[in-house]
């Protein structure tokens, strides 16, 4: 799983392209991702793809899937780091955007 980070933010956090990072949501959840440093996102914006599962806060939970049901690709779920305004069951954020802090892992 990866997060797209602007070079300015990456530079300030001491992150290089492809390095592991901790993405911390405002509620304290920490996601372990890789950084994709690109100008696609504006400075101050971090984009993370969603609809992935199987990793939770850096731990691989792939073994907990029923046998044969494990997805081909496991990744951190973006919802883990989301904040208020989320659906109570799935924790999907209604606005699809929230606050985060990115630090080098």
């Amino acid at each position: 799983m990866f997060a797209e980070i602007h070079p300015v933010d990456a530079n300030n956090a001491g992150i290089r392209d492809g390095q592991s990072i901790w993405l911390e949501g405002a509620e304290g959840a920490k996601l372990k991702l890789k950084a994709l440093v690109t100008r696609r996102v504006a400075p101050g914006v971090v984009f993370m793809p969603f609809h992935f599962g199987g990793h939770f806060e850096g731990k691989d939970l792939g073994s907990k899937y029923p046998p044969g049901a494990e997805p081909y690709v496991l990744g951190e779920a973006a919802n883990t780091a989301m904040t208020y305004g989320y659906d109570s069951v799935t924790q999907m954020q209604e606005t699809k955007v929230s606050l985060c802090r990115v630090t080098r892992a």
Binding site: T38, R39, V41
Partner: protein, 256 residues
């Protein structure tokens, strides 16, 4: 006979990678091999463009010329295929290809690469059409079923076109005429400066000319709606609403 070609419309590609995913799913391509890749230039900056690249099925294919065991061949349709049974994994085709289309399962010492794999235009290989052996080695053979490559079918913006070269070129030509060259023309910025790039196509001075040339909303320039058939094959739909194309003039929106 139709000469099969790919065409990628850089103005439409959104880098969604559907073509890549469709190809890998349809042909069960092993990990690490990317028959098709989407490459983005100027990522994140003004003028960002994406192109979807795979084997271009060249008419004078360099891979055919350099193969030491002569296993790459060109079909009557102009599709470049190869015989994995004869391939020795020397890598010459990869050296010769300008697009880097041939891929190999491994890159280990002593040049042991395994059998070459590449985009087949969804036309399988030398084995019998749609046989299990053909599927195992080359993936699905859609062309034999009268279908077009899955990457082009799956393209979300119809940026990637595939099919008979003439038809594909016609579609693209119509798009270019419809879009107009405008900001793409060389020298535009020299003539008008950076300010010359307008927010909407309708603001360009010559948009009125286009409207005058085709007063019926340029419908005569638009291809007929419905599926486009050629030799009994469906080569793509023409009922794409071109008015949604970025920069296309809308009826009544032209300002003198």
């Amino acid at each position: 006979m139709a000469r099969m070609k790919f065409l990628i419309d850089a103005e439409r590609c959104t880098e969604c990678n559907s073509c890549v995913t469709a190809c890998k799913a349809e042909h069960n391509v092993p990990w690490g091999i990317n028959r098709r890749q989407v490459i983005t230039i100027n990522d994140g900056e003004f003028g960002e463009r994406s192109l979807s690249v795979a084997c271009m099925h060249c008419s004078d294919a360099p891979c055919i010329a350099v193969c030491p065991v002569d296993v790459i061949y060109s079909t009557d349709d102009g599709v470049v295929l190869h015989d994995k049974d004869g391939c020795i994994g020397c890598g010459y085709c990869f050296f010769a290809c300008p697009f880097g289309a041939p891929q190999f399962p491994s890159n280990s010492a002593f040049g042991s690469r395994g059998k070459m794999d590449k985009c087949t235009f969804c036309a399988g290989g030398p084995e019998a059409d749609n046989s299990p052996a053909e599927y195992r080695k080359y993936g699905r053979n859609r062309l034999a079923e009268g279908k077009l490559p899955i990457c082009a079918e799956m393209c979300s913006s119809k940026a990637l076109l595939a099919g008979d070269g003439n038809q594909v070129a016609n579609i693209f030509r119509e798009r270019v005429v419809w879009r107009g060259a405008a900001a793409l023309a060389w020298g535009w910025g020299v003539a008008y400066g950076k300010k010359g790039v307008k927010k909407s196509y309708a603001q360009y001075p010559h948009a009125a000319t286009l409207e005058r040339a085709a007063p019926d909303g340029a419908a005569s320039l638009r291809p007929a709606a419905g599926p486009n058939r050629h030799n009994g094959r469906n080569i793509g739909n023409n009922d794409v609403d071109n008015s949604r194309v970025r920069g296309a003039p809308r009826a009544g929106s032209v300002q003198p």
